[in-house]
Symmetry: C2
DNA sequence: TTGACATATTCCCATATAAGAATATGATGA
DNA sequence: TCATCATATTCTTATATGGGAATATGTCAA
């Protein structure tokens, strides 16, 4: 079996760095495709294709305004990723504490 | 150009669902490969390959204990993902507020 | 050393890219 | 309707998968 499609879920969609850039730009304010092309230094078809992926997994929304199509990040779609990664937070805190404790123990034992 | 390697960073590594399962299991306590094979219902080579990817991006650590090799999630590696997704938090809060406000406005205008 | 257990690697293949080039679709104003 | 701007899709190609099968490597006990 091959790798899961980029459109299979938000995890796969944000694995692509350019798509993360796009999300960061579009969360501040909605932008037409052309503005993204200019900002990212990518060609227009590539941007459109990335936007399609993001749209399919619900990470961006679009609306037409005249000839332009305005895209915006749908931040809710990122929430599940934040929550999944959040389940590890207490563990990396533990690791930090352990390092800290060890450092303090060392400081005491050989001053 | 093809898709970035799964080993290129943590974002790509966790895009694979089985690898997220592995991380969830190994963050609670360290386990040998065989235990993962049993828990996941995957064959041993597949598990070893997933572990290799996770090791290469720094998401798991391993130590030998006799014939066994004990793996454990290195939670620090997930932190950048949590932080990146966290930059969108205020926006999904905003969206929720906006929906709420609109609902209240509607309730007033047509009661 | 040998046998057995535990894990890792290699080879194979169907599948899915991401970017570039070319083209198609959509919307507007004259 | 036509010309033009804006965006989307199709096609091609190099590359990287993930799982299955087979095999290699590593470690211990006797």
């Amino acid at each position: 079996m091959a790798r899961a499609a980029t459109t299979s879920d938000a995890f796969n969609a944000v694995a692509e760095p350019r798509r993360r850039e796009i999300l960061a730009l579009l969360v501040v304010r909605e932008l037409p495709v052309g503005a993204l092309v200019a900002s990212l230094g990518l060609d227009q078809p590539s941007v459109s294709k990335h936007l399609r992926v993001l749209r399919e997994v619900g990470l961006v929304r679009a609306r037409r305004q005249g000839r332009h199509k305005l895209y915006r990040t749908h931040a809710e779609g990122i929430r599940p990723l934040h929550e999944w990664t959040g389940t590890f937070e207490r563990y990396w805190s533990h690791q930090l504490n352990r390092v800290k404790e060890r450092a303090e123990a060392n400081a005491k034992s050989k001053p």
